[in-house]
């Protein structure tokens, strides 16, 4: 079996070895499966391991590569998919007891794309029940239990892509697919010390994915590096006639071209001064961010301070999510089966969401339109906005999130309301050895800018190469 030193390699590094036939996709898959069987339960990382699917896909990949048919950088690379993506013939639980026996007879478009790229699915990643759509108070709001952070198992992974964060952070797969409506890729990526991309709304098809908030859900990769995210994003992006919200063909597709992208342009970075309450940063987190800021200033000369527009963006985002969730899960809510959810707030949140008025929802949509124009103007002066991914490191598993994780998050609200791309990459550690993340946000459609910023940052740092000690 291959050791952790191989299993923690990036997709790019593994792909070179697979193409050169120095690593067998079958051996790589067996090794990730063995590590996942051993460590996965300790982290509550998986909803389901799928060794039969994995070995069948790995053997097919190996056979094709030996026959000279190499499909590209994901060929023979094992990954995990968040358990809200439909995979034909196996349970897709959405992390929630009422759906524990749900089985679809088709694959989500993302799963199909990865299959065509030759990637190997080794399991379904655990998640917060219904991706947190009903609200939740505790990390334990999941059919699979609380997501435990590979860096400190007494701490949370963050949600809702909790398993995806744990799997990549613990080296249980080469990458994972997560989803975000508001924070569900960026926060677990930051807490687990991995790189995560939230693509522009509409670039990745959501066909076959659980709908939470129709106008805010996005699907994206979580991986070892920004460059890995780029490779995976290129494989899953694209127009899909089965998802009416995907962008047109020329705006949805993404082509990976490493050398061309790095020389493409000089990014104008705006370091945000009002994204978080910076005075409440703990000292070691503040130090990590200050060091990251200096790296950016060296790497991208001309970086300067920027400010987000002020307005009720979080309130608008809250109302939109609440109303869209209330509609998306009206059958579940009205049936009373929400009582089967694990979290006390989740069991009643849907009813509260139903009580928000149509007038308030429409007001929120009008505020969103104004916000989009404001952000468009801001991006006339900057290509990329940068700040901490989260103002705190991973929180204790037992924390009441209503009290302990309820800080203002205007950038998360803005980014998700406007469908802006974002990338979180590791940028250091606190004095308790918990990862700190920095995030980059760009204008809608300019996913290349956040990926370029992340790759530039990671060329100058090695935080993304640090891994937790697990046994």
């Amino acid at each position: 079996m291959l050791g952790a030193s191989v299993l923690y390699q990036s997709v790019g590094e593994l792909a070179k070895k697979i193409e050169a036939k120095q690593i067998s996709p079958v051996e790589l898959t067996e090794s990730y499966l063995e590590r996942s069987e051993k460590l996965g339960p300790k982290l509550n990382a998986y909803a389901l391991l799928t060794p039969e699917i994995a070995m069948e896909q790995a053997q097919a990949a190996e056979k094709e590569i030996h026959q000279g048919h190499y499909r590209g950088p994901l060929h023979g690379i094992p990954y995990a998919a968040k358990d809200l993506l439909a995979v034909k013939g196996i349970p897709t639980t959405w992390g929630a007891k009422p759906y524990s026996n749900q089985v679809f007879d088709f694959n989500a478009t993302v799963i199909e794309h990865l299959h065509h790229a030759g990637a190997v699915m080794i399991g379904k990643a655990s998640m917060i029940e219904l991706a947190g759509g009903m609200g939740y108070m505790y990390a334990s709001a999941s059919l699979q239990g609380e997501g435990k952070n590979p860096w400190d198992t007494s701490c949370w992974t963050c949600g809702s892509s909790s398993g995806s964060g744990a799997i990549v952070g613990a080296g249980l797969a080469a990458f994972a697919i997560g989803t975000e409506t508001w924070g569900s890729i960026i926060c677990p990526s930051a807490f687990c010390g991995v790189s995560g991309l939230r693509p522009t709304f509409g670039r990745v098809s959501r066909h076959g994915a659980m709908a939470l908030a129709y106008s805010m859900d996005k699907i994206g990769p979580m991986a070892r590096s920004a460059e890995d995210c780029t490779r995976i994003f290129a494989a899953i992006a694209g127009h899909d006639p089965l998802d009416r919200d995907t962008l047109p063909i020329d705006k949805a597709a993404y082509t990976y071209s490493p050398s061309a992208e790095m020389k493409r342009r000089t990014l104008r970075i705006g370091w945000l001064s009002n994204a978080w309450k910076q005075s409440s940063y703990e000292p070691s987190l503040a130090s990590a961010l200050e060091a990251a800021h200096k790296v950016l200033q060296r790497r991208f000369p001309g970086s300067r301070e920027a400010s987000l527009p002020i307005g009720p963006w979080e309130d608008a985002a809250n109302v939109i999510v609440q109303c869209e969730v209330a509609s998306a899960f009206s059958t579940l809510i009205d049936s009373g089966k929400v009582r089967e959810l694990a979290d006390p707030l989740g069991r009643v949140g849907g009813y509260v969401n139903q009580s928000i008025s149509g007038a308030d929802y429409t007001t929120a949509l009008r505020v969103r339109e104004i916000l989009q124009e404001n952000m468009r103007a801001l991006f006339d002066s900057y290509d990329v906005l940068a700040t901490a991914s989260q103002p705190i490191p991973a929180t204790p598993l037992s924390l009441n999130l209503m009290n302990g994780l309820s800080f203002a998050d205007p950038l998360g609200a803005i980014g998700n309301l406007c469908g802006l791309p974002a990338l979180s990459v590791p940028c250091g550690f606190t004095d308790r050895n918990l990862p700190v993340g920095i995030q980059f946000v760009a204008r809608a459609g300019d996913d290349a800018a956040v990926l370029q910023a992340g790759r530039g940052f990671q060329q100058a740092t090695d935080w993304h190469r640090k891994h937790p000690a697990l046994s």
């Binding site: 106008s215 002020i310 309130d315 006390p344 007001t363 309301l417 300019d446």
Partner: protein
């Protein structure tokens, strides 16, 4: 539209009537029990983690809780009742900030999200300026 002041409901009056309506709509004994239970809770001191609201805001949040509780509360545990009430009250400050944001009649809703990608910029569009409704929640 001019409406004589004596014909207008205040928000508090509206809220009080809505509470009565929602309570009276639930005739089943179990439902009445839930309403009574919730009302009893409502009359007590709110926990410290509840947001501080104006009288009107408090009435609206309480109405929301009573409405939800009267429809669904018969099955709730005490913990779930508390969670529902907290959620109803927590939603209120945000709704008030949202409603006080200055919007003109012609400010149209983004009925579905169409991200403004670079090539779709509207030429010659006058940019609306965001004005803070309140500054309290900002960092």
């Amino acid at each position: 539209m001019d409406i004589p002041k004596d014909k207008l409901f205040s928000r508090r009056t509206f809220a009080q009537r809505a509470v009565l309506l929602s309570a009276s709509a639930t005739i089943a004994p179990a439902g009445l029990l839930a309403v009574a239970r919730a009302t009893a809770t409502a009359t007590g001191q709110l926990p410290d983690n509840f947001p501080k609201l104006t009288a009107e805001g408090h009435a609206e949040a309480e109405t929301r809780y009573q409405m939800v509780s009267s429809r669904y509360g018969i099955h709730w545990t005490e913990e779930e009742q508390n969670a529902a009430k907290l959620a109803c009250f927590m939603a209120q400050p945000g709704l008030e900030r949202l409603r006080s944001f200055p919007l003109k009649n012609g400010d149209v809703p983004a009925l579905f999200l169409r991200p403004l990608v670079e090539r779709e910029k509207l030429v010659g569009t006058k940019l609306p300026v965001a004005t803070p409704a309140v500054a309290a929640k900002k960092s």
